[in-house]
Symmetry: none
DNA sequence: GATGAATGAGCCTTCATTCAT
DNA sequence: AATGAATGAAGGCTCATTCAT
């Protein structure tokens, strides 16, 4: 019986090493040699599993995006469907969850954002993610605001998420999730009818 | 005597070529060979004028930052000192002015943001710019809000600027300055006492 | 598994190619491209094995120095410890042994001598070698002469070795070891007490 | 009246700068830019006056050789023709005169020796110089020794000169002319008939 | 005569990828 | 499956030389 399931072991191992290396030395110095060494494997294996460095980078971006999507879905599942404000806040919260605001991940995110502008594969991933965030926000906001307002507030919230995230990424102390959620939460609360705040208070999750 | 005054010609020429090349093919493909060819000069000249590629990149970032600072100052000078709301909007507007939202410039900005996380020289420039934006916003907001609120709103406005700017950079159509200013303006107007809106209406610039 | 034990093959291979190339075209034209081609490998491999061209040059100098040290030790081991004159001559002889007087090696030696004046790493190697030669000579000469004389004669012998070697290096015909050893031998014999000549005659090695 | 005699000013100016620069940073880093800057002129002038860098290097070597030849001739002129031992010592002394043992000059000499092995123009200059030294020494030694001995001693003296000079060049303290002349003088005196020592004592120069 | 801006070839080095083992 | 030695293209930089002024 040969070693089976190696792909399932190697791929995450290399993706995590990629995030770590980009986080530590930046995209321009993240060579396959360093990534391989960090993962404890030989550089040749990267081409074997990902077809090349580009494949590894794309897989790494997919990994981070999937992590965000999973967290968002999980957080929403824990939030009452009757509490649209809570659900909007859950989406915001997911974007500032532990896995997304670690220094290595923010650095990698930013590197991909920059690269996505000239790399079709990454660009597509980027777009899907951006549209999903807006769509999630709009879906909940429409339950509290008229369509036009919902659309506009969704854009503002998405911008606030990205903006706070971006500014935090460039700060030595990193991102402060509580502060971020506070600022965005205040803004949202000021735009939606009061009754949704009451609903939210009643259905609030323990972990919140 | 040889041609004199060439430094004053070559440096902007090469910086503009750098922005153009990063905008078109991305930082990772922006070699001195391509930049030189785009500028219509030989690659060796870059080291001559900037000491090396890093020097060119730093000078390019400085150039963009200075452009933003100049525009902000100019726009503020055109705005009445008695109209704090107008002045905040002027700062916002400056960040979405023509020079800053062209596709090449946003791409270059983003590349520098990513790179700044691992390049001390760029990091310093980045920090100075970020702090200046916050400081400008706070200065005007303090005239309309209590200090704590001013501080908080300043962060939110800065985040909205960067967030909208960032999301726009990743959109095929690019940034829509009017929409950006509309969203941020609505937010600010909802946070400041009504009388500042009246003052703003009276002192509004024509060009606005 | 890849080819193993390659370092043990590649390093000497590249060092020999370096000596050959410096011997043939000189230090200023000894590029990694030419050295690699001469060794039958790609230029990139030099940085892989020696960390860079400087590392290769240093390793090459070490190689030549070690060769001289090995030969000297071996020649001394073949010479009776009771024959100090023979031992001095053995040291002289080692400096004119086959490996040291080939055209390529003398050219490389000279290039290193020149370079050592401005390269700390090479300078250190150079100094160690120079001091060892003097120390070896003094040790044997002290057994035949008073300390001051021994010191002085050691300097003269070392100078004769280097001088003859240097002049020979610049002569089309190269160095004539027999003539060199004859000149230096005559000088030494004229400075030491006669009885050491008698001892020498009795213990003389066959190969001499 | 145009500037006349500029060549007579510029050439020595550039040659001296060349010696200085090679002495300070080594041949491999002695670029025309640095040499020009050291001489206080533009790099382009070198091609103008010497046809290129090679021409400058050749002229520099000629300059040093001519300096040695001039000093030797001058020192011999001050020495009685009836004192062959004194004349040999005068030749030796010339090789350790101030102009020849300065750190910059020894460094340059050595660089040229190395380069001469692969540069026909420098090689020819080198050969002329080496042969002249031997020929001068032989001419005087023949007056004191039989031809074969004279030839052999001439080689030994030349080797001692070059050897001491070379070893001194690689020593931090530089060359000690007195010690050098002492060692070589002792050697010569031990090889020539006693009566030449007496003659030498009577005709000795004051400056000696 | 002299400048120094500009060139472009050549250098060393890095790196993604390949492949024999 | 995995290695890591090896490749060779591409990168940034240095430099001798040229030339308009």
């Amino acid at each position: 019986m040969p070693k089976v399931g190696m792909p399932e072991v190697r791929r995450p191992q290399l993706i995590r090493a990629t995030i770590k290396v980009i986080g530590q030395v930046g995209m321009s110095r993240a060579s396959v040699a360093v990534i391989g060494r960090t993962a404890g494997v030989s550089p040749g294996i990267i081409s074997h599993y990902f077809g090349g460095k580009d494949g590894l980078l794309e897989a790494t971006m997919r990994f981070i995006l999937k992590d965000l999507a999973d967290i968002t879905r999980a957080t929403l599942d824990k939030t009452s469907k009757e509490d649209p404000l809570g659900r909007v806040l859950a989406i915001v919260e997911s974007n500032f969850s532990g896995g997304q605001v670690s220094s290595d991940v923010t650095s990698t995110w930013l590197a991909f954002w920059s690269r996505a502008m000239h790399d079709p594969a990454l660009y597509r991933l980027q777009q899907v993610n951006e549209k999903r965030l807006l769509s999630y926000l709009r879906a909940e906001l429409k339950r509290m605001l008229v369509v036009d307002e919902a659309r506009s507030v969704a854009i503002a919230v998405a911008a606030l998420i990205d903006g706070i995230w971006l500014r935090g990424a460039l700060t030595p102390k990193g991102i402060n999730p509580q502060q971020a959620e506070g600022i965005i939460g205040d803004y949202i609360k000021s735009t939606v009818p009061e009754r949704f705040l009451s609903i939210h208070q009643k259905t609030i999750r323990k972990s919140n």
